[in-house]
């Protein structure tokens, strides 16, 4: 597992029923591409987050297949429809099998 991997997520606390909201996510991760060499000229093995998903009450908002061309500390901004109060679940899946998860509640007024 890569060190110090901390997900950060920004979701509004409230929305109107059916409103479309903007979500931003940023996770600390080196996204080692597998293309770089160390000081001795050896290839540094690839170690990236290869998939990111966001669901709301179990239904998919976005599901991203990620390649090494995504920058260090992967950032995503996207939009979600909020039909009712509930929970956003954000999941990042690492090459080494670890998963990083964060959740955010949102209330529909």
């Amino acid at each position: 597992m890569a060190e110090n991997v901390t997900p950060r997520v920004r979701v509004p606390k409230e929305a109107a029923a059916g409103e479309v909201i903007t979500i931003k996510t940023l996770i600390s991760h080196p996204m080692e591409s597998g293309q770089r060499k160390d000081k001795d000229g050896n290839l540094i093995p690839r170690s990236i987050i290869n998939r990111f998903t966001c669901t709301f009450n179990g239904k998919t908002v976005i599901d991203v297949a990620m390649e090494p061309a995504i920058s260090t500390n992967p950032y995503f901004e996207f939009q979600a429809k909020v039909p009712e109060s509930g929970t956003f679940t954000f999941t990042w899946i690492d090459d080494d099998g670890s998963t990083y998860e964060d959740t955010k509640e949102i209330a529909v007024a």
């Binding site: 293309q35 998919t60 976005i62 599901d63 297949a65 390649e67 061309a69 920058s71 996207f78 039909p83």
Partner: protein
């Protein structure tokens, strides 16, 4: 059977050319292969995909890119000049508020960034933009 020098050269040039052409036809570029995998070989005729990227990126390590295709099921993003052109595929679920996403990507040099959207009616749309990647003056 004997060949003159000129004939020999002509034959060599011709066979060389056919080898080159053969190789060319058998091997699509990595970008073309990735697009073919994504579309299943379907023609890309649709419209409605917008790709936003800077004309000049100050550093190829972190280039902001946005794709937006109302009604799309999925969008593939490709950096045609990278050693591996694939960047990612965005799949939009039923609760996507819009079929758009922004991220930050790595570009190995000045190149064309390409996006292909798969629309819900089964058609495909393409958008592309050239991004110039500057090489800094100082390593610092």
């Amino acid at each position: 059977m004997s060949f003159s020098r000129r004939q020999t050269l002509a034959i060599m040039a011709g066979s060389g050319l056919s080898v080159m052409l053969g190789g060319r036809m058998a091997l699509a570029t990595p970008t073309e292969e990735l697009i073919a995998n994504f579309t299943g070989g379907a023609e890309i005729t649709g419209e409605g995909l917008t790709l936003t990227a800077p004309e000049i990126a100050e550093n190829g390590n972190t280039v902001p890119v946005e794709v937006d295709a109302p009604g799309a099921e999925a969008i593939i993003l490709l950096a045609t000049g990278n050693p591996n052109p694939d960047v990612g595929v965005f799949h939009f679920g039923p609760l996507a508020g819009a079929q758009m996403a922004s991220t930050r990507i790595r570009l190995a040099g000045t190149q064309e960034v390409v996006a292909i959207a798969k629309m819900s009616d089964g058609s495909f749309a393409r958008a592309a933009q050239e991004v110039k990647v500057t090489i800094g003056g100082c390593g610092g």
